[in-house]
Every structure is written in structure tokens, then in C-alpha cells.
């Protein structure tokens, strides 16, 4: 029998760094040159198969990057098992913003959350402002996973999600507390907010 794990993943980062494009590439393998700014939080799912007996279903919340919606972000990263903090390699300010997201996650989110720092838009390498070394160094200091992607070409997109899937604790089967959508038929009722991710003991969770 194959085991399916379900994890809640949230995307954070400054406006226009390509969060929605990254998800669109990952979930539908598509890319739009012109995407409207996300006003809200989009919900998508994608399943990755790790091996013959293990699949991981990501429940992805793609959040709005605009500053005015910042206060709503905690609603989406609370109870998340993993977070992808995205910056734009052609905008050095977006890395500063990413750092502040990482700080906020480390302070406010679940202690066992797996955080990945993701530099997007490698197809625009010519206009690069954030060097790989700088980002990698910061990620190492903070114990984050790190990778670069291009939502436009697809480069590195699945790698970063796969790496997260492998990093997540796959010891507890099936319904993880972060899984919010009731998938079993007949399951009624809502989300038990008291059922926090019981993983404070899982010390291996976020040490890279």
C-alpha cells in the first residue's frame, strides 16, 4: 500500500517576485508573461511521488505580496508545515524583504516549520543583483534550505519542492495537522486550531 502525506505549504515574499508564477509552473507546468497581482490567497494542490510507496500532497497557499495585506499573512502561515520565501534575484531589496519574512516565520510560525529561501527569475541572470554566494551564506546562517528557480523556464522549480518534500518528517502517516481541507467523505466540521503541529520534539525538522 502506498502512503500519502499531506502538508501545508505557504509562499511568502515581496510583491512581483513571482510567487504565483512559481506555483503555476509547479502545479500546472504553465507560465503567463503577464499575471495580475494576487489580491488574496490562492489555494492549489500538487502531489509529488517520492518513491513507489510514498506520495506527498502539498496544499499550497499562494499569498498576496503587497504590503497592505501583510497583516493577513499569519492566517496563512500558521499551522503551515513548510514555507517557501521567494525573492527576485534582479532586485536586491526583495532579499531584504525575504529576510524579514524569515525573521517573522522564525518568531511567529510553528517552530518545526521547514523554510526554503528561493531566488526566482534566473532567466534574467544578466540583470542579477543578488549573488548566489550572498543568498547561500544568509540561508546557511539561518538554517534555511536554498535554491534558485526560473518560473519562466521551469528550471529548478520541481527541485525545490522535491527537496522540501524529502526534508519533511514522513514518520507520521496521512493526515497532518496542517492539512486543512477535509478529504475524507463524510468528514464534517472545521479545523481544530488547538491541534497544532505536534512536532516541537522533531528536532531534525529545520536544520540544514
Amino acid at each position: 500500500m502506498s502512503k500519502q502525506f499531506q502538508f501545508k505549504l505557504v509562499l511568502l515574499g515581496e510583491s512581483a517576485v513571482g510567487k504565483s508564477s512559481l506555483v503555476l509552473r509547479f502545479v500546472r507546468d504553465q507560465f503567463d508573461d503577464y499575471r495580475e497581482s494576487t489580491i488574496g490567497a490562492a489555494f492549489l494542490t500538487q502531489t509529488v511521488t517520492l518513491d513507489d510507496s510514498t506520495t506527498v500532497k502539498f496544499e499550497i497557499w499562494d499569498t498576496a505580496g503587497q504590503e497592505r495585506y501583510k497583516s493577513l499573512a499569519p492566517m496563512y502561515y500558521r499551522n503551515a508545515n513548510c514555507a517557501v520565501v521567494v525573492y527576485d534575484i534582479t532586485q536586491s531589496t526583495s532579499l531584504d524583504k525575504a529576510r524579514s519574512w524569515v525573521r517573522e516565520l522564525q518568531r511567529q510560525a510553528d517552530p518545526s516549520i521547514v523554510i526554503a529561501l528561493c531566488g526566482n527569475k534566473t532567466d534574467l541572470n544578466a540583470r542579477r543583483q543578488v549573488s548566489q554566494e550572498e543568498a547561500k551564506k544568509y540561508a546557511d546562517e539561518e538554517g534555511l534550505m536554498w535554491g534558485e528557480t526560473s518560473a519562466k523556464s521551469g528550471e529548478g522549480v520541481s527541485d525545490i519542492f522535491t527537496a522540501i518534500a524529502k526534508k519533511l518528517p514522513l514518520s507520521t502517516p496521512q493526515s497532518r495537522p496542517g492539512a486543512s481541507r477535509a478529504s475524507a467523505p463524510g468528514t464534517q466540521g472545521g479545523v481544530d486550531l488547538n491541534r497544532r503541529l505536534g512536532a516541537t520534539e522533531q528536532s531534525d525538522a529545520c536544520n540544514c
Binding site: D29, I39, R68, S158, A182, Q188, G190
Partner: protein, 890 residues
């Protein structure tokens, strides 16, 4: 004779992929077999007494003719990461199977004959179901040759006609149709959508009949149904008086004692329809409920005697006077002392169909009939102008007698819940000529499965006041209205309804008649004729409840003191029910069409998409008692229907802050459809009291969740302009200038610097003192123009001079100032005289005593304001006229 086979898929929860497609079961009758497809019924928060999972029939597919069932692999994409050389392989199907079922018959042109598609992932169980289907299909084809649904599968027809709740002729629970839908959806918040699948189902089920009625609106007509209801505890008596006042609404011969029954019709002859106006025309239906019809002990044991019922039937007809010829007795139901009878006008008699009765005992041992209820349920189906049958409006009438004695209020509440849950009407499903009735499944419906529910009877609720107080209030001259209002506050039934202990969500018109219990004759009575040993009470009541689709207007609610033959007085009420007359076939066709459009919306591959216009909402400036509304257009720009709902930030929180009202909290949109959601800010006194302290910006981000889709953010903002209303006097004295100019706590004067009395207050009083040549008697006694009050308030808030448009006369302005002062005092968050001193003040009989009543911590502001108010009252107003006509603003 149905035989049930339950193959391996009995515990089908894990069998089907999607929620609504849960369960397979087989039912076979001789050689005719049908496949039943069940879905899970979402349990409703309200009224859902049974927490267990319920299944409802979703589809019934007779296994005949071209019936087929096939399975294919589903095309759901996932990423396969086992092969590192291809980073994005998107076409790896999982073990998910698509089951397609084709109907083998064509019942009628509008019947849904499209194939049904389900998703499943349990290969083993699916295989056994498929094999069984194939086997049964073979049997079916071998046995009867060309099978027809109306022939060999006739037994399945009722299921087909009621297969979906949307088509069902049984109305939804009237209590649910009154509770806002969003309160029944799963708990959800930002980032936690709750149970989207169940929510979509609920939203859809509510939407279909509503949308169908909108579509049928063009061809529908309205029929106002006039209903008169009466209740009477007759204390075991036989009719000895004219009941005209009670049943006919003619109170003219109120005090006449009319001994023998036979003469009644002669006397009342020629006097009818004299109660004109709203009651013009006699009621279409008259429903009367009696209690204590028979008090003999034998009646408890064998109670079928028709003698008393016949006597009261004659008395009702006699009471109708010459109009009795217009009526027929439609139906009656008796249980020991309780009798309910319905009389209908002959010319509309054929519009009443599906007449059912029920009776439930609640007395000794919980079942004997000395207490309990009897009920009548009928469908009102007036002919549509086209001549075709119409959609029924279901009316239910309950006559009950609840537990007696003042301290048994809990028992009465329990009786209500017990009776309302145990009363059931058994109705057969739609009868058509080709369906033999004996095989029809019976459907049991509750008293709440109705469009309108009337509940009458001797409910026995009393007044929680001392006997003498009640009698004093009832006899105090000149203040009947006020005193009845005071008595109403202590009425046990009103309080039970308010506290949601019984008769929840029922409506009752104001009790403006005198208590109807308990009257006596002779020495043991008070001056109104009430028994001195029992507290007078409103025991006899008529309540109602209705769904949104059948609005009810109550025209009257009266006691009838002229009918004196019992220790109770009878009570009557008149209602008008607005019934939609919708062609049944058109409605059914429409609901089927709508049903098809939205049935599988949660299984569509395309994501639901909506757009919001505008993307954020700025109300500009808002203020105290200034209602501002903005529109938000929600449009479905996706390819599939979508359901939406506003959700709060946190599960237990409100969807929006108290200062904001959302007009439409949940809805369903077909592709390209849009709905305008109204957003209203209306700051009342309570909110103003909180906002006045430096909360100029009102900001919130609403979260609009699309079922199985995005959370949309709608930022809402407004600038609040503070007002001098809804503050404390001491706060007002610390304002350095007009309240609008005070931006922060730093602008406030310190306690020591505070003024003697609020400037705003002084401005009002000074202005009133200088109102020369104005009729002072009008001050405080006539209502002021609210426009003037608004101008005054604005001037106080901004510190500007009082300037009024020319159209207002001096006296209107002066009265406006009086009104403004009263409203300012009324809006204070701490009253001028602390409420703790109210009783002490009431006891004061002289000026000297008045000085003795001291404020515990007298604030200068309060003292000064009080002194000015008293001075004003003395100077401006003639004391006599003031005290008799004094009013407070609502």
C-alpha cells in the same frame, strides 16, 4: 416486494472519491432492478438533532435497456519524482478511476439523461459493483424483454420524482429557511476553508429553489390567502353562547347572552362582513383549536365520541352567521380534550390538497391525551392562470395544551420540544395514475417541514409578577397600553422565546388584549372578573413562523371578553399569507436544469474564478447615525459555477467588525453571473461610544472565500468623525475645543483644567433658555425634526455657529433643540443621575428630601449639567404640561 442486496461496497465511505457520491446499493423487485446512488447529507448545525451521517438518494438509475456502466483511468496529473532525469513529468496517473453510468431509459424530455460520472479509487470494491451491475443488467434484459420505466419499474417512479431535495414537494425545514445560510456552513477562517465540499452542497441546495423561483417569476402570480385562527379553552362546557365575535370577527353583540343554540343563526343573520378595511372579505380558511373539550375521566380512555365535536362544529357555523353557507368543514382532529378543525370557503376548497392530521399526547405517562397537541397539514395549490397545477404552499396548524401551573414553565418548554419533535404527518409521495399507491414509499414529515406553521392553544404560560401587581396594573386607569407593555415583559412565553428555551423563532403579534385567564363568577372575583385565587395570565396564544417564500402578515390579534361561558376567553388572529402561484411543471423543469448546471461543480477541473469590483472600498467619512452603503460587485469570470462565502479572520470571530454590515454573506454564481454585495457602515450609540476616543480610521480586510478556490481580500476603510454624543459628561468637559479638533489624548485638558460643564451641553441649554416667543409647551413634548437635530449635532461637533436653512421656522428649530438635548442626555454612556440613585430619587417626596439624596462621587460636570437642566425645565416649561406629556426619545 423489494429485495435488498448489499454487495461488498456496503461501507462505501472509502469507495468513492468525492463526498456527494458515496454509496452504492441495489434494490430489486422481481425482475426489475435499479441502481441507487446515495450521497451524504450535510448535517445542519441548526436543528440537526441527529449527529450521525445521513444518506440521501442522489440518483436512481433503473437497470434497463441501454443501461451501461464503464470504468476508465482518470487523467489527474501528478509529478513523478522517481526519475531524476526528467524533472517535470506531469502525466503520471494515480490509481484513480472514472466511473461512467449511462441511463438506459428516457423518462421524459426534461429528465436528466446525461451520463453520470464518478471518481473512485478502490479498485477491488468497484470491480465487485461492476460485476454485479452487469449480471443484473443481463437478468433484466433476459427476463422481460423491452422493459419500460413506467411498466416494470413503476415502483421506482416515486424515487425518481423526489430523487433530489431540489425537486421535492416537501418544503425545507421552515426553521432552517429562516436561519441565515452562512451560520450553517462549516467553521472556516482565512487560510482554513473548512469543509468546502459540504459547504458547496449547502449553498447549492439553498440556491436551486431560490434561483428557480426567480426564473419562474415572470409567469408566476400571487394569491393572498386569508386565514383566521382561533383558540379557546372551553373548560368542558358545551357551546351556550354566540361565537360570532370569535369566529367571525364581529364584536358588535359582545355582551349578549344567548341561551339556546338554535336561535343563534336567526339573530346573527343579516350581519356579516361589517369589519371592513383590512379584513374585507371573509377568510379563505378558518382554523379553530379547542382545549378541555371534555373533562370527564372517561374521555381519557375512550375518546372517539363525536357528540362534542358536532356541537362545536354547529356553534362555529352558527357564529359565522349567514356566511356559514360559504364554508365547508374540511378536516378535524381530536385527541381527548383537544380538537382542531379547519373550515374552508367552498370556492377554494379544491385548492387544498394533501390534507393530513396528527395527534400526540403529552399528559399522564407522557402519552395520555389530557395534554398534548393535534395538528393539520395541508397544501394550498390554487390554479395557475394557465390552468396547470401549481407548486404547493404547505400550511401546518398545531393546537396544543401544555402543562398547567405557574411554576411549571420548564415543563411547558419541554412539552413544546417534545410535541414538536414527535408530531409527524405521514404523506405518500407523488401519486400519479400509473403508480399503484400500495407500493409507494411513505414519507414522514415534521411540523416544521412546511412553508407556514401556526401554533395555537392553551400554552399555559403565566406572568411572573405578584398577583396584586398584575391586578393593579390591569385596572390602573388611563394607562392600559403602558401597563400591558409592562406586563408583557414578565410574560413567561415571551421570555422563553427570547431565551430560546421554547418556541424559538416563532413570531407573535404584541399582546394588546387583556389576559384571557382565569375568570370566575361570584364573590371570588376581582373587579375585572378574574378569579382571585389565580393570577391572570395570557395562557391562550397564537404564534406563527414562515419561510421566506411565503411571507405572512398578521392583521389582528384579539381576546374576546364577550364570550364568557368558560374560565378562559377565546383568542383570535387574522393573517394573510402571500402565496406564489408557480406552475409546477415549469418549476420542476427549471430546478432540473439548474441542478444539472451546478451538480458537479465541485468536480470540475477548471478552477473557480471571480473578480471583485472595486478591489477595495473606501467609505470616505462616516459618522454617528449616518448610514453609508457601498456596493461590491462579485462576478464569476471562470468557466464553472462557483460558491462564495465571507469568512472571518479567526474561526470563532465575526466575519466583519460590528460597525460594518455585509448584505450578502454567501452565494452561488453561474459563469458570467454577478451579484452586488452591499456593505453598510452605520454607527450607533454603542459603537460611537467606543470610536469617539481617537479611533478615526476604520479599517478591515474582508476575506471572501471561493469554494475550492481562492481567498480574496477586500480592504474596507473609512474615516470616522467623532461626535459629542455617546460620551461621558466628564470626558466632554476635558475637551479643549470642538471634539472634531481633538486628535489625541494630548489635546485633552487635565482633570484640574476641566470645564465646569460641557460646552456642547451649555450651548444647547443657553439656546433653549433664550427661545423667546416660542410655545414652550411644545418643548420636549413634541418630537423634533431629525434633520434639525442632525444640523445641531454637526454644529456642536465642529464648534460652528448654529445656522439653519430658511425652510425651518423658529418653533421647529426650538423644538429641534429640545430633541437634541434629550438625545444628547440619552446617548451619555453614564447617565446624568447615576442609575444607582434611581430608587432613592423615586422615594423623594419633598424638596428637602431631594437635597438629602447625594451623589456618591459627585463630578462637577454632572452637578453642573444637572443644575442647568433643572433650571431650564423650571424656566422654559410650564410644569404641568411638562410632566404629563414628557417623552423620552426612543
Amino acid at each position: 416486494m423489494a429485495m435488498r442486496i448489499r454487495p461488498a461496497s456496503k461501507d462505501g465511505e472509502s469507495f468513492c472519491h468525492m463526498d456527494p457520491l458515496g454509496h452504492f446499493r441495489f434494490e430489486s423487485s422481481w425482475s426489475s432492478i435499479s441502481l441507487f446512488l446515495f450521497k451524504f447529507k450535510p448535517t445542519n448545525g441548526a436543528g440537526g438533532a441527529n449527529p450521525s451521517v445521513e444518506l440521501v438518494i442522489d440518483h436512481v438509475i433503473p437497470i434497463i435497456g441501454e443501461f451501461s456502466i464503464s470504468v476508465a483511468l482518470s487523467k489527474r496529473n501528478t509529478v513523478d519524482l522517481r526519475n531524476p532525469s526528467s524533472p517535470l513529468t506531469m502525466n503520471q496517473p494515480r490509481t484513480e478511476l472514472r466511473v461512467t453510468i449511462n441511463h438506459g431509459h428516457h423518462l421524459s424530455p426534461d429528465q436528466n439523461t446525461e451520463h453520470i460520472t464518478l471518481l473512485a479509487n478502490d479498485l477491488q470494491r468497484l470491480r465487485s459493483v461492476l460485476e454485479e451491475c452487469k449480471r443484473l443488467n443481463q437478468i433484466s434484459n433476459e427476463n422481460v424483454g423491452p422493459a419500460t420505466v413506467s411498466g416494470t419499474h413503476a415502483w421506482v417512479l416515486p424515487y425518481l420524482s423526489t430523487a433530489s431535495p431540489a425537486f421535492s414537494a416537501v418544503p425545507f425545514d421552515v426553521r432552517l429557511s429562516n436561519s441565515p445560510l452562512h451560520t450553517r456552513l462549516s467553521p472556516a477562517s482565512a487560510g482554513f476553508p473548512g469543509d468546502d465540499l459540504a459547504d458547496i452542497q449547502l449553498i447549492r441546495e439553498e440556491w436551486i429553489p431560490r434561483a428557480a423561483k426567480v426564473i419562474c417569476d415572470k409567469t408566476k402570480t400571487r394569491r393572498d390567502l386569508k386565514i383566521r385562527i382561533g383558540t379557546f379553552n372551553v373548560n368542558g362546557n358545551l357551546p351556550t353562547q354566540d361565537l360570532g365575535a370569535w369566529v367571525g370577527g364581529s364584536d358588535h353583540d359582545a355582551d349578549k347572552m344567548l341561551p339556546p343554540l338554535k336561535k343563534l343563526s336567526e339573530i346573527t343573520l343579516g350581519e356579516s362582513d361589517d369589519k371592513g378595511d383590512e379584513l374585507s372579505g371573509s377568510p379563505d380558511i378558518l382554523v379553530v383549536g379547542f382545549q378541555e373539550l371534555d373533562l370527564s375521566t372517561g374521555a381519557l380512555l375512550y375518546s372517539t365520541e363525536a357528540f362534542r365535536e358536532n356541537a362545536w362544529t354547529s356553534a362555529v357555523f352558527a357564529g359565522l352567521g349567514e356566511r356559514h353557507e360559504l364554508y365547508d368543514k374540511l378536516v378535524s382532529k381530536q385527541l381527548v380534550g383537544m380538537l382542531i378543525m379547519a373550515f374552508v370557503k367552498k370556492n377554494v376548497k379544491e385548492c387544498f390538497e394533501d390534507v393530513k392530521t396528527t395527534a400526540v399526547g403529552a399528559g399522564i405517562l407522557g402519552v395520555m391525551g389530557n395534554k398534548g397537541a393535534t395538528g393539520i397539514r395541508l397544501s394550498f395549490r390554487p390554479k395557475h392562470p394557465s390552468g396547470a397545477p401549481s407548486l404547493p404552499t404547505v400550511l401546518t396548524f398545531v393546537n396544543s395544551h401544555l402543562a398547567a401551573f405557574e411554576d411549571m414553565v420548564d415543563r411547558r418548554n419541554t412539552d413544546f420540544h417534545d410535541l414538536s419533535s414527535r408530531m409527524q404527518f405521514v404523506r405518500r409521495t407523488d401519486q400519479t395514475p400509473e403508480t399503484p399507491t400500495r407500493n409507494l414509499p411513505q414519507v414522514v414529515v415534521s411540523v416544521f417541514d412546511t412553508d407556514v406553521l401556526f401554533w395555537m392553544g392553551d400554552l399555559n404560560y403565566r406572568i411572573d409578577l405578584p398577583s396584586q401587581t398584575i391586578r393593579t396594573l390591569l385596572t390602573w386607569p388611563g394607562l392600559e397600553e403602558v401597563n400591558l407593555a409592562e406586563l408583557r415583559k414578565y410574560d413567561q412565553l415571551r421570555n422563553a422565546i427570547r431565551e430560546r428555551k421554547a418556541f424559538e423563532d416563532f413570531k407573535e403579534a404584541d399582546l394588546t388584549y387583556l389576559p384571557t385567564y382565569r375568570f370566575a363568577i361570584g364573590f371570588s372575583t376581582d373587579q375585572l372578573g378574574y378569579d382571585v385565587k389565580r393570577k391572570p395570565a395570557w395562557t391562550d396564544r397564537i404564534l406563527h413562523m414562515h419561510s421566506k417564500t411565503a411571507p405572512v402578515k398578521q392583521l389582528s390579534y384579539h381576546g374576546h371578553p364577550s364570550v364568557t361561558m368558560s374560565d378562559h376567553r377565546p383568542v383570535s388572529a387574522d393573517f394573510v399569507v402571500s402565496c406564489d402561484v408557480i406552475e409546477l411543471s415549469e418549476y420542476e423543469m427549471t430546478t432540473r436544469k439548474l441542478h444539472r448546471q451546478v451538480l458537479y461543480m465541485e468536480e470540475e477541473e477548471a478552477p473557480p474564478k471571480i473578480s471583485l469590483e472595486p478591489s477595495s472600498i473606501d467609505f470616505g467619512t462616516v459618522g454617528y447615525l449616518r448610514s453609508v452603503t457601498r456596493a461590491l460587485e462579485v462576478r464569476n469570470i471562470g468557466k464553472i459555477p462557483c460558491a462564495f462565502r465571507f469568512v472571518p479572520l479567526e474561526v470563532e470571530e465575526l466575519i466583519c467588525p460590528p460597525w460594518l454590515l455585509i448584505g450578502t454573506v454567501t452565494g452561488l454564481l453561474l459563469p458570467d453571473e454577478s451579484v452586488t454585495v452591499s456593505l453598510t457602515i452605520d454607527i450607533n450609540c454603542e459603537m460611537a461610544a467606543e470610536l469617539n476616543r481617537f479611533r478615526p480610521r476604520l479599517e478591515v480586510t474582508l476575506i471572501l472565500h471561493v469554494g475550492l478556490g481562492k481567498d480574496h481580500f477586500v480592504p474596507v476603510s473609512a474615516k470616522y468623525e467623532p461626535t459629542c454624543f455617546a460620551n461621558t459628561l466628564s470626558y466632554l468637559t476635558r475637551l479643549s475645543g470642538p471634539i472634531r479638533d481633538v486628535k489625541s489624548a494630548d489635546d485633552l485638558l487635565s482633570e484640574d483644567e476641566a470645564k465646569n460643564a460641557p460646552k456642547e451641553f451649555m450651548r444647547l441649554v443657553n439656546r433653549l433658555m433664550s427661545c423667546d416667543g416660542v410655545d414652550a409647551s411644545a418643548l420636549f413634548t413634541t418630537r423634533g425634526d431629525l434633520k434639525v437635530v442632525e444640523i445641531i449635532r454637526e454644529c456642536l461637533d465642529t464648534g460652528k455657529q448654529f445656522v439653519f436653512p430658511k425652510e425651518y421656522t423658529n418653533s421647529v428649530i426650538s423644538v429641534g433643540f429640545g430633541e437634541a438635548l434629550l438625545r444628547l442626555l440619552d446617548s451619555l454612556t453614564e447617565p446624568l443621575i447615576p442609575s444607582s440613585l434611581n430608587s432613592a430619587c423615586e422615594a423623594v417626596t419633598s424638596k428637602d428630601e431631594g437635597f438629602e439624596v447625594s451623589l456618591p462621587h459627585p463630578s462637577r460636570a454632572s452637578w453642573r449639567s444637572l443644575a442647568y437642566t433643572l433650571l431650564l425645565i423650571r424656566n422654559c416649561v410650564a410644569p404641568d404640561s411638562f410632566w404629563t406629556n414628557f417623552h423620552m426619545p426612543p
